[in-house]
Amino acid sequence: MSGYAQGRRLAEGSEAMAEAALLAGCRFFAGYPMTPFTELLEQFARRLPEVGGTCINAESEIEAVGMAWGAAATGARAATGSTGQGLALMQESLSELTRAELPLVLFNMARGQGDYFQATRGGGHGDYRHIVLAPMDGREAVELTQGAFDLAERWRNPVLVYGDYLLAHTAEAVDLVPLDLPALPPREWAVDGSLGGSGRARNVNPLGMRKGQKGIDPERFWKRLQAKHDAIQAAEARHVAEQTRDADLLVVAFGSLARFARHAVRRLRAEGRRVGFFRPVTLWPFPAEALARCCRDDARVAVLEQNAGQMIDDVRLAVAGRVPVVSIGGISSDEAAFGIGPIYDPEEVHSRVASVLEPSP
């Protein structure tokens, strides 16, 4: 039985993320093949049995999230995932298991950046929030995947890792080392059967049902959940900012496309232009305060995203009308429709950023 593949190696994103999950103690995965998520499932199917875990080839995405729900309820570190369409099928379960306060890591290997709304607003019913992490490259994906399991358990809340085709299929050097994280409290909320017959048995449920108590108090239960989400929002926003202090133009981007945005910003800086770069690492909580701080009163913001305009809503909310916000992104797709498009090109991105720069004096 091979142990964990540690140390530096060359790995495609799917392989690296699966390995990072195992390093974090993930012992359960269930999934259904769908491009570009399929390789992640293949990796888990191959590696989990080797470390004493379980991977189930679920009959559909709905069952995949159900199985992960059951595994997570026993206190095991569990994950599931898909691409946008599969995540769409999972939405009822995702919103309900959030209310059941179950830790679960979800992978969206998305077909581009058009799932931003699905990830951050959630496509399920009712009030709930997921922490959403958006790695820019394989190295960050390894770190954020491990961090996802920790955050999920710390807050007892699902955490979604937003990947994409490019991330899944790009091989790069990654450091597969376990993160050093503070200890977590014991999993008293988990069920294992042991309290049966004691009069204190548990019911892991999304309604706040209690043993010996007829009826529920949904308002109290949902408000408590809302308070938890407010606390997550106050504590967990993360971002990366570069050269924003004197920037006339702030370019905002996330995920794989952010790599191209950062490159364009650095190039323009080298040419003497005062541009800055802001990358949300958490799409929820969106680092609104940080963005507002990074943005001078006389600056402009340009949002680069590969969709019809989704993150730009959060950018506009963050700057609250103080500065102009323009889109330099848009829909961009090749004929395969798996999320790669002409926008993923350094020259293309450079010209989009340059096009909204004021002419040099």
């Binding site: 012992r27 059951g70 026993t74 049966g196 048995a201 007829k214």
Partner: protein
């Protein structure tokens, strides 16, 4: 001679042995708002007694679907996971894979298991998951007020088949036990009923056998329990057992459909 009326509002005074308690050992109370004449509490009693007889309470996890029976969960002194409508088998699968020595059962109505969740129970059986799925079959979606499910029999009147289920309009019922018995992953498949005392006793025996099959790691086990729903059937409570016997039993006969050695 006509029989005298005996006081029954307290235990008897003459020396006697108690042979039956109000509640099974694993039930926390009796206060529930299910309809008069509902068969589901009878199935619950059989289930809890079977688990208690096996001494398995401290290793049991129940995964409960959504239906009238969901309201019984506060009374169950077992570790439970509440699942969504139709989704208990997948949840039970995930839990069982992480805790292979636990006794896992699902508790689902016919609307839950055969409409929303048909795919889940079939695949769970096909995979031979060592869990026990328990179907409470009253031929209606009880909780929404009594509507047609995949188990509603031809001619049965429900709120959305007021003229009686008609094959031309609504198709035919699905006999899930027969389908599951045909899958190699199934090790024990049985059908029980709680319309009379003998049926209740047989229900408990079948549940016990199903749990034993699971604990012996032989594969998937399944017990369908026909229950009365006088409200959904538009009959007086006292006519519930007769309706079950005359209308549902012919389509869903009792017995063991599959039992592995």
């Amino acid at each position: 001679m006509s029989r005298p009326v005996i006081r029954s509002d307290r235990p008897p005074r003459a020396p006697a042995r108690k042979t039956g308690t109000f509640l099974p050992a694993l039930q926390l109370g009796a206060d529930h708002d299910l309809c008069p004449g509902c068969g589901e509490p009878l199935a619950l009693r059989s289930l809890l007694e079977a688990i208690d007889d096996l001494g398995a309470a401290e290793r049991t996890i129940g995964v409960v679907g959504i239906g009238c029976y969901t309201a019984l969960t506060p009374l169950i002194d077992l570790d439970l996971i509440q699942a969504l409508h139709g989704r208990a088998p997948s949840v039970a699968t995930g839990a069982k894979r992480m805790l292979p020595d636990a006794l896992l059962f699902t508790l689902q109505g016919d609307g839950d298991m055969l409409n929303e969740g048909l795919q889940e129970v079939i695949h769970t059986a096909a995979r031979g998951e060592a869990i026990t799925c328990v179907l409470l079959n009253n031929g209606v979606f009880g909780e929404t007020g009594g509507h047609m499910t995949a188990a509603t029999v031809l001619g049965q009147r429900t709120k959305n088949t007021l003229a009686g289920r008609d094959a031309a309009q609504h198709g035919y019922p699905i006999r899930i036990a027969d389908m599951l018995a045909g899958l190699e992953g199934s090790a024990y498949v049985a059908r029980a009923s709680v319309h009379d005392a003998a049926g209740v006793a047989r229900t408990k025996r079948m549940l016990r056998k199903a749990f034993e099959t699971q604990l012996a790691r032989k594969g998937f086990s399944f017990v369908e329990i026909l229950t009365m729903c006088p409200t959904g059937w538009f009959v007086p409570t006292a006519d519930g057992p007769g309706y079950l016997d005359e209308v549902l039993q012919p389509v869903y006969p009792m017995g063991e459909l599959k039992a592995s050695e």
